[in-house]
Amino acid sequence: MGAFRSPGIWMKTAQAAVLAVCMCFTLGASDASTRFDRLSHRLMCTCGCAQLLGECDHYGCPDRGQEAQELNAGIAAGSADQEIFDSFVARYGATVLAAPTTHGFDLVAWIAPFLVLAAGLLGTVLLVRRWKTNPAVAQTAAAASDPAAIDPAAKALREQIRRETDFDGGAGL
């Protein structure tokens, strides 16, 4: 917390406030349980409740206990994440993974949304650009700034319009 060493009362107050708010962000848990927590949130409970293994909480779930045991055994044996996932897939099928993998066709699941966003962004920018260079728009803009294009009758109208729409600051409210 070296950043906190600068003097000044306001700085101290700020420190206190920041510390108070962010106490909640200081994490601390043992390694195995953190790892269990992390991995169990990437696996599904297979009983059909459609919940994550780490969050499945319905009473009397027939599968949660066994899956948790297997996961704990895998962690205790020091297997890598991928090995644990592979053994789960081998036993329960691909649906046990809570998210698609990042290889093969599954990759499409991850890429498509960002592709759509990028294509949409590009499309929108191009659309706006095309609109901007649209000759019809350019023409009206030119006509608007050309004082010669305005005849006297229109000028009177415009003055009326300006009077009626000028911002009066809410006088009389």
Binding site: T140, A141, A143, A144, S145, I150, A153, A154, L157, R158, Q160, I161, R162, E164, T165, D166, F167
Partner: protein, 92 residues
Amino acid sequence: MTQSLGLILGALLALVLFVYTFWPENAFASQREKTRLDFLQERKEQLYENLRDLNFEFRAGKYPEEDFVAQRSQLENETAQLMAEIELLQQG
């Protein structure tokens, strides 16, 4: 509640609603076509609204002077054309 009471109540409801629906009455609202003038008035109000907004946003510091003047004259031109047509229609 017995079944027959239910039947009677249902029949009663049917009768009341039928009478309500088909009661001969002359006062029904006519379906007026929206005229060109109505449409132009609406447009004019909207353009006025846009102009007021433009004025306000300029004062709030969201436009540089030259942008504001260009935008305003463009909107005013459009409104003026519209108002000319309104006057024409009103005279006719």
